[in-house]
């Protein structure tokens, strides 16, 4: 029996686990965006905090992922909640940093021109800075999501479900087909989301700077 036949026979189980998996990664990402993007914007307005907050975020990043999951257990019990919480913390930093740098790399002369013509700070943010930073912010979200999909496999260790559960079960039973039917869809999801978010990124980049962004990565 090839792996593909095996996977086809158990597609319902794999499908359920995949959905659980996506739910964990996506909720962590969305919650993280809700906090990290406004925080990143705020940091561009309060330079003195930027160093401190970005440093704190870096500290969270250095905690091993499995350890962080374990820390969540006593607080949130078992299930997918501690997994989502841990991944949420992980996602904060890269999204916040990309939001911050995305806005910071907007040419100061554009801000000065906007201000000189009578735009309010809010109009400058929404009309100039965010549209020009969107490519960088979305790039941060994309890589973060891909990493989250990878790390979500660890959720199984604390009873969070997801594709990790198949891998975990396969490992304990030394069943390679089971391991692979967790690992292959997980890898596939990561690649697919990278592709789709890449498309979205390009689509949301304002037309006037698309060419430059595609060539240089950011607007110079």
């Amino acid at each position: 029996m090839t792996i593909f036949e095996y996977m086809f026979r158990h597609y319902q189980l794999i499908g359920t686990r995949a959905l659980e998996h996506l739910f964990i990664a996506t909720s962590a990402l969305v919650l993280s965006m809700l906090l990290a993007i406004p925080l990143g914007i705020l940091l561009t307005r309060k330079e003195s905090f930027a160093k401190f907050v970005l440093g704190l975020g870096n500290v969270i990043m250095t905690i091993p992922s499995l350890a962080l999951l374990a820390f969540m257990l006593p607080v949130l019990g078992i299930g997918n909640k501690p997994a989502i919480a841990a991944l949420f913390l992980y996602a904060l930093m890269p999204i916040m940093r990309n939001t911050y740098t995305g806005i910071k790399q907007v040419q100061p002369s554009l801000i000065e021109a906007a201000k000189g013509m009578g735009m309010t700070d809010f109009q400058i943010l929404t009309g100039i800075e965010l549209p020009l930073a969107i490519a960088v912010i979305l790039a941060g979200i994309r890589t973060t999501y891909v990493i989250l999909i990878g790390w979500a496999t660890l959720a199984a260790f604390i009873g969070g479900g997801g594709l990790g559960q198949l891998i975990w079960a396969g490992l304990t039973n030394i069943n390679y087909n089971l391991i692979l039917s967790g690992a292959i869809p997980a890898a596939g999801l990561a690649l697919l989301s990278d592709l789709l978010l890449g498309r979205l990124e390009l689509k949301l980049t304002p037309r006037g700077i698309r060419k430059v962004v595609r060539k240089e990565g950011v607007l110079k």
Partner: protein, 369 residues
Amino acid sequence: MVTFEKVSKTYPGGVMAVKNLNLTIAQGELVVLIGPSGCGKTSSLKMVNRLIEPTSGRIIVSGVDTQKLDPVALRRKIGYVIQDIALFPHRNVAQNIATVPRLKKWDQKKIQERVDELLRLVDMDPALYRGRYPLELSGGQQQRIGVLRALAAEPEVLLMDEPFGALDPITREQLQDELKRLRQKVKKTILFVTHDMDEALKLADRIVLMRDGVIVQVDTPEGLLREPANDFVRNFIGEKRLIRQPDKVLVHEVMRTKPTCIEGDKGLHQGLELMREEAVDSLLIMDRSGDFLGVVEVQTIQQNLEARKSLEAIMTPWPTVNENDSVKRVVRLMVEGNLRFIPVVDETGRIKGIVTRANVVNFVLDYMS
């Protein structure tokens, strides 16, 4: 229209960028602020739209103290063009031009008409350029749009901070010409900062020359060139550009050296031969030691060709000037005697050169252009 009253700006750290500036810019006038870097010209400009807040003093725009207005409302009344052009790259040409009208909530139709009107003003076809993005335009086109963006909402005052500084020399000149043309169509009060004296002389109604935060001289371009207030102004303008009074220009700056001379004891045929060789119609006659004696013209030789005479015998006495005399004296002698040229001699009478009418005219043209 714009009045600076005892305006000073001290930056944190104690640097005094502008010291007690008093200046009034009349309605429709283009005033250029110029000076070496750090002279306070840009600080002065940016205090008008309050991108920089003055430390003391008042700036009054159309009768209203700028400190009494909300900075955002103030800036929407004042056009602003900067050196980096700074068109918004994610907005197309029409959207860029419409920036301030949109902030002022003009209705869509009025905005569109205004955009097209402005594009036609600089000979850019609206149908072709409206939808273009800044990165698809040349530098010169970008700054044209930059100027239009500043003009869009009919501002009372236009601030231009080295607007053409980032452009190549040819494009810069084109845009300067266009600005001059534009000013004939739309009479705007403009405060213009540059460090380029040629640009200032070309565009300004009045030039304000600054150094170390104070005004050194305010005058029309003509006045500045004629009567620079001191050596700093003279150096800044550059000696070559200064208009010099004719009585201060000396003959040796204008004269041609090595005129066609011949010794007076030579015969008429020899004289005629020399004229043919040198393609001239007059000769300066000198003695053996090179001292000037007189002039022989070709008609005089032809009238006397039968007689066996020396050149000395038929020459005409002629006024001369010293090489250190003023050109004014040359011109006077030429006009009084209806002379085509004047020989130049040194103190001992030795021939040094010649000034012709052509020399004088060329010299005058050089200084007038």
